[in-house]
């Protein structure tokens, strides 16, 4: 069970039931649970979609696409069944928010899935949870069971005449499966290789049927929107960036944790105020603003509002809400290498630039970090990354290239030092107190 934290600046929408025992359906009902879905059943589907669209809710998985707009792409009539697929394959390094939602408020996700189903006319929803989250999926399974037992799921939900089923589905360890088309492949029992798009999942998705795929946090945000109204939600954030989101503050901070803050919250404040500032009196060197695939910001670039558009303006991305701070004791070559090792390990291998590119970048960075660099290595790293950028089959190639390009650009000096044979000044991170090695 993960620890919870709180801060006065938090605006609790998705996290309002965290720590309140809402995993149990009775408690969830006491805390406004399943009210929104009942309301949705009385609303014309188009109105639900319009409400979500107007709320400015944007995908919390990382791409930041307007959720209501995504729903509106689903054809009204379809020969094949429509599906809702909740993406809970949370795997982006630096991100651990969906885990908390599933752990503390599973019914909110179920309710979000149901509302999406009502809005687009689907009758089945799947909640895909990454395989490592075994205890979390057990919580989710119990919650689904409770909802069925109450008649909230299954035939004729809430006596509305509308049928809706929700099933849980488990993964088995693959970052790539977080990509929505690969997620569908995985759910269908295949290797997690993304699909060619178009057609987009909203038109041809699971088993060929129109499918809405949303991140767990996105779906958990839907019930409060229906209850509080689009206007209320939109106003919590900045223009076009409605509401709040869960920020996962990690790295050497005094008070790391998952905080729910309004969209557009200042990053500097987030680090120094909410997160309690740098641990052990260290200096901030860099920030990963939204999970490992987002371009890094230097310590000087952090006085910005955290929303999709503002981050785009400074050449980075809001991503998945994983804010990782890096202090001056860390080696940026090593950091870049670790990121690249991750993408090299997680590349599905389907397309040439990602499969081969991540591998060569990892090899080059490994050698460079170990002191075996040669003159053209740094430029080669940039060249290779740029060759991948925008040319891969799915966004994983970009995810590997973008942080690398930014690290080399912003911390080139550290790469040059390695190249010139200077000892890595950061060999010991030393975050952990020494302990005698036991025999």
């Amino acid at each position: 069970m993960a620890d919870l934290v709180s801060h006065p600046d938090e605006v609790k929408v998705v996290s309002k039931r965290f720590g309140l025992g809402a995993t149990h359906i009775d408690r969830y009902l006491e805390l406004d649970g399943y009210k929104a879905v009942r309301k949705a059943l009385g609303m014309p589907p188009d109105t639900i979609i319009a409400e979500v669209k107007d709320s400015g809710l944007r995908g919390r998985g990382g791409a930041g696409f307007n959720t209501g707009l995504k729903w509106s792409f689903v054809p009204k009539q379809s020969a094949k069944p429509k599906y809702i697929l909740c993406n809970g394959d949370e795997s982006e390094p630096g991100t651990c928010k969906d885990r908390l939602i599933f752990e503390h408020d599973p019914h909110a996700v179920i309710e979000g899935v149901m509302i999406a189903g009502i809005a687009v006319g689907a009758h089945v929803g799947y909640i895909y949870i990454r395989g490592e989250y075994r205890y979390v999926s057990e919580i989710m399974q119990r919650a689904i069971g409770e909802a069925y037992a109450r008649g909230f799921l299954g035939k004729n939900i809430f006596g509305s005449g509308f049928d809706f089923d929700v099933y849980w589905h488990g993964g088995a360890g693959a970052y790539e499966v977080g990509e929505e088309s690969a997620l569908m492949e995985s759910l269908e029992g295949k290797r997690g290789i993304p699909r060619i798009r178009p057609p987009f999942p909203a038109v041809v998705g699971l088993w060929g049927g129109p499918t809405v795929i949303n991140n767990a946090e996105t779906l958990a945000s839907v019930p409060p929107i229906l209850l509080g109204g689009a206007e209320w939600y939109a106003k919590l954030g900045t223009p076009k960036n409605g509401g709040t989101r869960l920020f996962c503050l990690s790295g050497p901070l005094n008070r790391p944790g998952v905080y729910e803050l309004p969209m557009g919250y200042n990053l500097k404040k987030m680090i120094y105020d909410v997160g309690g500032g740098m641990a052990r009196g260290r200096t901030l060197k860099a920030v990963v603003p939204g999970g490992s695939s987002t371009p890094l910001l230097t310590g000087e670039e952090i006085d910005i509002p955290m929303d999709f558009d503002a981050l785009m303006q400074v050449g980075s991305m809001l991503g998945s809400g994983g804010v990782v701070v890096v202090d001056d004791s860390a080696c940026m070559v090593k950091f870049a290498l670790r990121i690249m090792s991750f993408y090299q390990h997680e590349s599905c291998g389907w397309c040439i630039p990602c499969r081969e590119g991540t591998d060569w970048l990892k090899k080059t960075l490994t050698r460079l970090h170990a002191g075996g660099g040669v003159g053209k290595d740094i430029d080669n790293i940039q060249y290779l990354s740029e060759n991948m950028l925008g040319r891969t089959f799915c966004p994983l190639g970009d995810a590997a290239a973008m942080p690398t390009i930014s690290i080399v650009k912003k911390f080139r000096k550290e790469f040059e030092d390695h190249l010139q044979g200077k000892p890595c000044p950061f060999e010991k991170v030393g975050a952990i107190e020494p302990s005698p090695v036991m025999a």
Partner: protein, 177 residues
């Protein structure tokens, strides 16, 4: 006429799974329009019971989900949690991804290696522990973290890690008695 591959049909195995496994399988069959969709979760559950995905498990699951063994193997090898090799009773998975890296994940890994006297992806001679360096497991705010089988252990220090290893060692040897 000489039949080939799929034409010859599936192998019949003597594989038996537990009662809960069978119940869950029967229920899951009703969740999807295709049997194939059961594959990934079923493989993981089978691995939990058997310890790894043996030839026999693969043949049995291939038969159940109506796929060739080749297709099942192709899927197994894609997912990093699935393995066709036996592992220790307690599989220690140390995250060294960025948040954990910054908080000492590598030190935890090295410590475990020294402590257990083995390298990554190896198993102790008593079959109790195996060790694996893994990617981000969603514990970034509580780094560094490890997972022992499915259990999270977070905000680790080397001392805490030692205690955890001791704990599992006790548990493992007790349950054997």
């Amino acid at each position: 006429m000489g039949l080939t591959g799929l034409e010859r049909g599936h192998r019949i195995t003597n594989m038996r799974f537990s009662e809960p496994f069978e119940r869950r399988f029967e229920e899951m069959v009703t969740h999807y329009p295709t049997r194939r969709s059961l594959l990934v979760p079923t493989l993981l559950y089978a691995q939990d019971e058997v310890g790894f995905l043996s030839e026999e498990v693969i043949a049995e699951i291939a038969r159940r989900v109506e796929l060739s063994e080749l297709e099942v193997r192709n899927v197994i090898s894609y997912y990093s949690m699935l393995t066709t090799q036996p592992r220790g009773k307690y599989n220690i998975q140390v995250c060294t991804n960025i948040a954990c890296l910054l908080m000492g994940g590598e030190e935890i890994l090295h410590h475990c290696q020294l402590k257990l006297g083995m390298g990554e992806k190896q198993t102790t001679t008593d079959g109790l522990f195996s060790l694996e360096e893994v990617e981000c497991m969603g514990a970034c705010c509580w780094a560094p973290a490890v997972q022992v089988n499915y259990d999270f252990h977070e905000n680790l220090t080397l001392n805490k890690m030692d205690q955890i290893l001791e704990q599992y060692k006790r548990k493992g040897t007790q349950s054997e008695l």
